[in-house]
Symmetry: C2
Subunit: 345 residues, 2 copies
């Protein structure tokens, strides 16, 4: 099919994808037979444009970089809000990259539902709808015979989710376990290098890895959200996002780290999900001492990793970035190209 893309939201992630699309348009067309136009961008702050025959994405990117706004662009229809953009444009694929609200999932859940009901494909990096309503949304997509994808909600563009959903289909996944939060892994790495917890956190904040309020990272909530998404979508669980036990890294001291290393271990914040004999799935986030010869022990700094334990392949581990503009923008592209592949006929 020919993709008519609408961006709902045009922040870091949306711009990350837009940059890749501008750079790679010709290559993607030739190599993957991927034909697209960006027909609409709707951002509550930066402004909105719609043009049926395609916007000039390069110009819009330059504009937003220079002025922080799309307002100076002048070709097409201006000012449609997100819902009107989803409903009334000729877009056939909606990229939900507006802001994340993990309490209500809104307005993203409404965006996604509206699009699916209109038989438009949806790709998102927004964790809200997936953490809160994934099953309902997947059913809605199926009922309307369209695709809904969300690789970027777990390890940004590192294909941890699609690996479990597609490449390892039929392998008999019994466990998923990994380092899915780069901020805490960076802090633990720096603490091993000699910094105290407070100094390591401060450094992570200075580098932009940690928020001013680091609670979601250091208490494990971010990691928990991701493992719940994995458990629910890859392992067939039905966990609510605050249900599993969750412990962060705030109680780990420099002494703990040194002592573990002397014993041949390394403390890591581990998110895990395990299939039990009765068919239920138990998930958790907690610090674990990992043997130094285990692949997860050697994941340092902001890098993420996930190990699937399977019946037929044993352990399969994937390692890559867990955040960032280009990696998360790429997550959208990976999902779109996969949709292009499965719908190619």
């Amino acid at each position: 099919m020919d993709f008519n893309i609408a961006f709902i939201g045009f922040g870091v992630v949306g711009q990350g994808l837009a940059e890749i699309l501008v750079e790679q348009e010709q290559y993607l067309k030739e190599k993957y037979d991927f034909n697209f136009k960006v027909v609409a961008i709707s951002d509550t702050i930066k402004g909105s444009w719609y043009r049926r025959t395609g916007l000039d994405l390069k110009k819009l990117l330059e504009l937003v970089k220079e002025t922080g706004s799309l307002k100076g662009y002048a070709d097409g229809i201006e000012g449609w809000d997100s819902l009107k953009t989803i409903k009334d444009t000729n877009a056939n694929i909606i990229l939900e990259v507006a802001w994340t609200d993990l309490k209500t999932g809104e307005p993203a859940i409404t965006h996604v539902k509206t699009a699916l009901k209109l038989k438009k494909h949806v790709v998102m990096t927004n964790k809200g709808p997936i953490a809160l309503a994934v099953r309902e949304l997947l059913d809605l997509a199926k009922k309307n015979d369209v695709e809904m994808r969300y690789e970027g909600t777990v390890l940004s563009g590192t294909p941890a989710l699609n690996l479990g959903l597609y490449n390892l289909a039929g392998s008999g996944i019994t466990k998923a376990k990994g380092i899915v939060n780069g901020t805490t892994n960076y802090i633990l790495t720096e603490m091993e290098g000699g910094l105290g917890y407070e100094d390591a956190l401060k450094q992570a904040q200075e580098l932009g890895y940690a928020e001013a309020d680091p609670t979601a990272d250091v208490e494990g909530h971010d990691a928990l959200g991701k493992i719940v998404i994995l458990a629910n979508t890859v392992m067939g669980a039905n966990l609510s996002k605050d249900e599993p036990p969750c412990e962060g890294i705030t109680k780990i001291t420099a002494e703990d780290i040194i002592k573990a290393k002397e014993e041949g271990f390394r403390w890591k914040l581990i998110a895990g999900a395990e299939l039990k004999d009765d068919g239920s799935v138990e998930a958790y986030v907690r610090p674990e001492k990992i043997p130094l010869d285990h692949p997860l022990a050697n994941i340092m700094g902001p890098t993420n990793a996930l190990t699937y334990t399977t019946k037929y392949l044993g352990d399969v581990t994937i390692i890559g970035p867990g955040a960032g503009k280009a990696p998360t923008g790429f997550a959208l592209l990976a999902d779109i190209l996969d949709i292009n592949r499965v719908l190619k006929d």
Copy 2:
């Protein structure tokens, strides 16, 4: 589509897949909407059966385990050779798991060509056709509008190839580098543990990791074949399989290994392929000293790993088994399920 499967060859790999299919039939049907019958098995030594409405795979597996032969089965047409099985059965997907000949690629190349020309999908773990004729065969598949897959030719069921071909499509892969031969990695691991090269090799032979004639492994030829497949299919190269420089592990001494470790490195047999500025791809196999904090340095024993360096994601590494009955059997299943997914409508 409904899959009518024919096995061409029924050795370890074919039986590996058959065991999974018998165990998982119901699950695969429910979870992935994958409907199949095995309509034919043709093995030059064990015998051949064809039954239009489906063979009893469980019974055939039991028989071959008990007697080493399929001859005692008695339901359907007996004795069709591989080409007649490809041509004259109602199979619509051919699994090429006959023996590998890396000099001529035959008879596998003829099997694959015959199937593709008859518009039958092909999945294989046989390196011969891919190492010698991949481009011609892919063109033939495209011309006939059928799928040809070969995940199992690189790291058995660890999805290294499909990761590069599909999940990382559009990521801008500039390099692939990894440990793609388990035998040599096992030997190097044991040498670090204190064994000399000869003793480590002997141990690998006793455990079935190394052949009686270990040349293909220890001289790097097996690794070279795999990196050439990766370079040619993922990175668009057009290398012949004996072209790139290739050095094995036979010159590495126990002293080299100890000395490297003291300096913070570990010797690994590395297969690599790199995209050059002029668009060409250079591949090689050679021992390299890898820094201990690099993911590849910590791949021990018979495990395999591959790191893709990409423009938008940085490094993405996958780690998993590189051989074995179930992992290689699973490689076939993964490819078949992907075909089921892309052809689902």
